[in-house]
Symmetry: C2
Subunit: 155 residues, 2 copies
DNA sequence: TATTGTTATACTCTATAACTATA
DNA sequence: TATAGTTATAGAGTATAACAATA
């Protein structure tokens, strides 16, 4: 009944990641992926993907924001913002109002329905965030600071 | 010449992220995205995407590994592993050897050419990793530990 | 000319389900 | 029946480039 020379099985604790195990980028991807899925699972019941949720939240917090500024805030190209806006708009979660001062700009704002959806979503978001916060614990501020610096400084 | 009521311009420091600014998941995505792009830019000159690089590295460190175990190591479904393996194999960076003991299994190993590519890539990988390490600094062990815990525990 | 947003398009990444072959 | 890997397929997410309207 001795332990035999198993060939890299199941839970993969026997896989040697080599230098990858020390690579921040790799673990960043795996963690992001896990967090993304967990959020999607919760919020998916209300049909709001993480990216759409982020956009809706930014619009809620910045009434009148344009798509360019929104894209910069969530780190997406304006051409990637368009379909998000269209989807949110189709669902009447946001309003689009052409700026009188500059008729190229569209001022985005959240609707009552949008706010209601955010409210319904709130407990799930809170659970998700609390999960992450619990894992990260007292280091949260430092942890977030490092993530922001990575985003800003890696050029 | 007083500061006027600018409408959320350029570098977007005026955008209020609201609760998103405290959301670990959001910053995880932005940081991962930035790191991924930075790596792709460097390694792209040698035609090796981050995902392919990770796979090649795991194969190098685990000669004879199968695609299932590889997928678990890099957190991808076996059906997502197949095209990676095909690409690496077509480029003769890896060898595929049917296991004699279990003819369903394919034992993967890196070739001389694969090793040579990893060697050519090494300085770029080192630069990338060093960049991240510099940003994260002395907290690296703790930072990596948190990323791993997020991946493991968020269920 | 420059800027805001849209469109056409294409590419990458990924997974689910059904499949083959082996066990 | 179960497992290793493949295939067919589809969907999400994203960007580049060209464009229209407006500035």
């Amino acid at each position: 009944m001795g332990v035999r020379k198993r060939e890299l099985p199941g839970g993969s604790p026997l896989v040697n990641l080599g230098t990858l195990d020390e690579a921040i980028g790799f673990h960043l991807r795996v963690a992001q992926d896990a967090s993304f899925r967990a959020f999607a699972r919760r919020a998916g019941q209300h049909d709001l993907k993480p990216g759409h949720f982020a956009a809706l939240l930014v619009i809620a917090n910045n009434p009148g924001i344009g798509q360019g500024a929104l894209g910069r805030a969530i780190a997406r190209d304006k051409s990637s913002v368009t379909p998000i806006i269209q989807s949110l708009s189709r669902r009447e979660l946001i309003d689009r109002l052409t700026s009188a001062a500059d008729r190229r700009r569209i001022q985005l704002s959240i609707t009552k329905a949008g706010r209601a959806l955010l409210r319904r979503l709130a407990p799930h978001v809170r659970n998700h965030d609390r999960n992450l916060d619990t894992i990260v614990g007292a280091d949260k501020a430092r942890f977030l600071g490092l993530l922001k610096r990575i985003a800003d400084e890696i050029s």
